[in-house]
């Protein structure tokens, strides 16, 4: 569909350009209103995306040569997998501005600059169809996020921000090597073109590992998750919201966009491992969350568990599993984002993240966010989780049986926290002021979505179904075609040995 102007480019560029305007403002209050206006305009600019046609093609495509001799292109487009993430990113921005209205008390200009920069970069990640362009946005997002944690974070911010930066950057350096290898082997950086190609199993094996490391750190999956609790706990609430709602999704999006279509045989080969790690993430995240007394840490560990459901759904390779994973991505974004905003609101009053100091808030806090988080029927969490469950049981009874305790754990820790915080005996909360209008607005919007997606998920299915079908069809056709009998590890070892032998 042609709107007469490049929709995606404007969406990506507008926050960035508007962010430069911040440097000409002075008063903090003006900065906040300005950013609010910018984020609302950004939402308006997203309206043309409603013209998304319900098929599996890439839409709103823009393609310009960037560095011709090197085959780099400025190539953007969205399909059913990415459009929901794009909309989620855009919707989160005004909420972030609102929830940091009074929370951020220093260097407001830079803070809002980071927020807008961040939004641009994340939108770029979800829209890019050129591997290098993707990588550019993927890395560009690190700097503002680092600043959000390092400048406006809690007491231990230095440690948390450094850990976040080093972890994610170290993970993505090999991604760059994989991208280059794709170019040299496949002859192009364009993702849609590469999706048509069949690479040798040996190539896929290594490319998958290099990409999976980057994405697994971002998700984060079990052994690589340690940066997340630190970053979540120390980040200001808007930072946590973006981190939870959007950033973690980049990892799972990477799996869906790159690993499955580009390296199908290797994905198939590694699926048991990925499923195992996902199950460990679910159980481990849930179990650790149960033991937390710090609310933010609790939500952070619960994120590890929830994202485990997403990766599990992806690597089940069946329709229900992948649909469930996409839903879980969206829902986790909404629910966890909302929870962090609530925690932010509470923190502003009590200046503590301990559960024991924040008891008896039932008067103020809409309790059903917690319900959604463990998948109570009627909320959106239910839809995503039940789909992953169906997919898992379809695949194998054992996988299904193993993740049931994960869901139970989620219920347990969420009940525990909501019981204490909403219905416990007030510790110091009795003297607090009620939620004000601004807080009502930013908590109601996600609440509406929770119920809407929970009760009527059909429109969302219509958007994602064609793309998921195409993804899985392609995958099924190509996963077997390319499998060879050779063992990449042994081949590589033999290569290295023969190289050494040659030298001697």
């Amino acid at each position: 569909m042609d709107f007469g102007y490049p929709v995606l480019t404007i969406l990506i560029a507008f926050p960035l350009i508007a962010a430069c305007g911040l440097f000409f403002l002075r008063a903090p209050q003006v900065v906040r209103y300005y950013t609010m206006a910018v984020s609302l305009i950004e939402c308006l600019l997203a309206v043309p995306l409603m013209g998304f046609k319900l098929n599996a093609d890439f839409q709103f495509v823009e393609q310009i040569d960037w560095v011709h001799q090197w085959g780099l292109q400025y190539y953007l487009g969205v399909d059913g997998i990415s459009i929901l993430m794009v909309l989620l990113t855009i919707a989160v921005l005004p909420l972030c501005v609102m929830c940091s209205w009074t929370y951020i008390g220093k260097r407001e200009k830079e803070f809002h600059f980071c927020l807008l920069f961040m939004t641009s970069a994340v939108l770029g990640v979800f829209c890019a169809l050129d591997l290098v362009l993707f990588y550019v946005f993927w890395e560009a997002m690190l700097i503002p996020m680092y600043l959000l944690i390092a400048v406006w974070g809690g007491d231990d911010r230095k440690y948390a921000s450094l850990k976040f930066f080093l972890y994610t950057l170290a993970g993505s350096t090999l991604l760059l090597a994989a991208i280059v290898a794709f170019r040299v082997t496949g002859g192009t950086f364009s993702i849609p073109d590469l999706m048509q190609m069949n690479f040798s199993f040996r190539f896929q094996f290594w490319a998958f590992l290099a990409m999976a490391l980057a994405f697994a750190i971002k998700v984060p999956m079990f052994p690589f998750h340690t940066w997340l609790p630190a970053a979540h706990v120390q980040a200001p609430s808007a930072g946590s919201v973006i981190l939870a709602a959007v950033l973690l999704k980049m990892g799972t999006y990477g799996f869906l966009r790159f690993c499955l279509p580009l390296t199908p045989a290797a994905s198939h080969y590694f699926a048991p491992m990925m499923i195992a790690i996902s199950i460990v993430s679910i159980l481990y995240g849930g179990a650790i969350a149960l033991g937390q007394s710090d609310i933010k840490k609790l939500v952070a560990y619960s994120s590890v568990g929830h994202m485990g459901f997403v990766t599990l759904g992806i690597f089940l390779f069946n329709q229900r599993g992948v649909e469930g994973a996409l839903f879980q991505m969206l829902n986790h974004g909404i629910v966890t984002g909302a929870m962090f905003m609530m925690i932010g609101a509470v923190y502003e009053r009590s200046h503590s993240r301990e559960i024991s100091k924040n008891m008896g808030l039932g008067k103020y806090m809409p309790g059903f966010m917690a319900l959604a988080s463990f998948g109570f029927p009627g909320t959106n969490g239910f839809v995503g989780e039940i789909l992953v469950f169906i997919g898992a049981f379809k695949q194998s009874l054992i996988i299904g049986a193993l993740i049931v305790p994960g869901a139970l754990l989620a219920a347990a820790y969420m009940f525990r926290v909501s019981l204490k915080m909403a219905w416990g005996t007030p510790s110091s909360a009795s003297t607090w002021r009620d939620l004000n209008a601004r807080e009502w607005i930013y908590l109601t919007i996600p609440a509406v979505f929770v119920l809407w997606i929970g009760l009527a998920p059909t429109p969302f299915f219509k958007v994602i179904d064609p793309s998921v079908n195409k993804l899985l069809n392609d995958f099924d056709q190509r996963k077997v075609a390319a499998v060879e009998t050779e063992q990449p590890m042994q081949t590589a070892a033999a290569d290295a040995l023969s190289l050494l032998a040659e030298k001697e």
């Binding site: 230095k158 350096t173 090597a177």
Partner: protein, 485 residues
């Protein structure tokens, strides 16, 4: 002897400028000529004159001196570097008043030597041009008022330099003896395998050693952090950037000999890997910013090897592009270092604390420079690194590419600490001189930062230039016009 004066216009312009400086430095003790008033304009003019000569070509002086795309690319880079260095040095607090004209004259001669080096295609000419570039460096480094450290750095540089050039000369004699020619164009067709020509390979290794000294490649890097630390900030900015351009251009020209799979190419690759790993690991422990940058430049020298060992025009183009990126990024960071240390002291990382408040433009530019050095997009550092690894992949040195990307992950820590100190730490009140926050400092930093970001986003024109330059070295004809992106 053929001689085409129009092809030499950039060099001749530069020579006239340096001669004018020489005249000014010859006056009596009382004559204090206003060098800094006119030289920036002269350097700027030299830069533009060189740009207008980008398409010149021809070879002269019995074919030892060749003006082609590669030489013009590097001459543009070198004159740009000289322009920025002169601007940067024009506010140098640690230079005695009476020595100003001499200082600029020495810088000018060194730069002239580098420009000649860019065009030399014969080993003896390369050696002579290298000496012209080096001798003035030896004299410039100790010029930091009453500073023992600078004198020490000067001595170190001379001793290391003397040994390295002696080795290079020794190697040159081996090459001449076994291959019977010193023209690179003829050397290109000879065998460089150790089995056929052991003496020539040893000779070439030694000759390259001389270049590695200039480039500060491991294990020829020992002078680098000490000299950066000892020399004044402004001189360090010159030493860190300009001689490396000379080394890179010679290596680019010699890279046509280095087919992948040859022993010498493998040595180069191994040295590159060691250099980046060693440089990055050592830089992690530094607290003095100039030492940190010194070790970082050892690492960057290693990165450049990645393009050179690929044995393709693209690889050489990528190395040339990375050389340019390296120059701009380092000049940017040194510009900030020089401005923050407005009294000419050596900066520690802690001295950057709270820079975002004291000098926001400098802090922002420092961020651009630091992230460019890491190789984060969208900066030219990223593009340079990306071109390097794309050109080198699948040419037999994939392990080197993997080493490079892993090294970027190591390097992030110390570059990030530049950024961290400038943006997230608050400054303690101190007696130290405040950073120069005037329009001159901000404009210079801002423009260099803009260049780093802009070329990072639109690298195509300059990169095409570099690729075409690489192609001319392999004798592939390049058509002008068109090319598009």
């Amino acid at each position: 002897m053929n001689f085409n004066i129009t092809a030499l216009v950039p060099e001749l312009f530069f020579l006239c400028m340096v001669l004018a400086l020489m005249v000014q430095s010859l006056g009596s003790r009382e004559w204090k000529p206003p060098v800094e008033k006119w030289l920036p304009f002269g350097a700027c003019a030299a830069f533009f004159v060189t740009i207008t000569g980008f398409h010149l070509h021809g070879s002269m002086f019995w074919d030892v001196y060749k003006v082609d795309l590669m030489s013009q690319f590097f001459k543009i880079v070198i004159t740009f570097g000289f322009y920025v260095v002169v601007l940067n040095a024009s506010r140098q607090p640690t230079l005695e008043e009476g020595k100003r004209a001499d200082y600029y004259m020495l810088l000018g001669f060194s730069t002239l030597g580098l420009m000649l080096l860019a065009s030399s295609v014969e080993l003896i000419t390369i050696y002579l041009a290298l000496e012209l570039a080096s001798y003035s460096m030896y004299a410039v480094i100790p010029l930091r008022a009453k500073d023992k450290g600078a004198a020490e750095a000067g001595i170190k540089y001379i001793l290391f330099g003397a040994v390295a050039t002696a080795l290079a000369l020794y190697g040159l004699s081996y090459i001449m003896a076994s291959q019977h020619t010193t023209y690179i164009a003829e050397l290109m067709n000879k065998s460089w395998s150790f089995a056929d020509q052991p003496m020539a390979v040893v000779g070439l290794s030694l000759f390259l050693g001389g270049m590695f000294f200039k480039l500060a490649l491991f294990p020829f890097h020992f002078w680098c952090p000490d000299v950066y630390q000892g020399a004044s900030n402004e001189t360090a900015a010159f030493v860190a950037t300009m001689p490396k351009m000379g080394a890179i251009v010679v290596l680019c020209r010699l890279a046509v000999l280095l087919k992948p799979g040859l022993e010498i190419t493998t040595i180069l690759a191994v040295l590159g890997a060691l250099s980046m790993t060693f440089g990055n690991l050592s830089a992690l422990a530094q607290t003095d910013i100039k030492r940190l940058l010194g070790f970082s430049s050892v690492a960057h020298a290693g990165y450049i090897m990645v393009g050179l060992v690929s044995g393709t025009p693209e690889g050489i183009g990528a190395a040339a592009f990375y050389g340019m990126a390296y120059l701009v990024m380092n000049l940017l960071v040194f510009w900030i270092v020089s401005r923050v240390a407005s009294d000419g002291r050596n900066l520690k990382l802690n001295d950057l604390n709270g820079l975002y408040k004291k000098a926001p433009v400098l802090a922002f530019s420092l961020a651009a420079g630091a992230f460019a050095l890491v190789g984060l997009p969208p900066t030219m550092g990223f593009m340079g690194k990306f071109f390097l690894i794309t050109s080198a992949w699948d040419h037999g040195y994939n392990w080197l590419v993997i080493t490079l990307v892993v090294n970027s992950a190591i390097a992030i820590y110390y570059y990030l600490s530049l950024f961290r100190h400038a943006f997230t730490e608050e400054s303690a009140p101190s007696q130290a001189a405040p950073p120069d926050n005037g329009w001159f400092a901000s404009a210079g930093a801002g423009m260099l930062a803009a260049a780093v970001l802009l070329i990072g986003m639109v690298p195509a024109p300059l990169f095409n230039f570099a690729i075409n330059a690489g192609k001319t070295l392999y004798g592939i004809t390049v058509t002008f016009g068109g090319g598009g992106h």
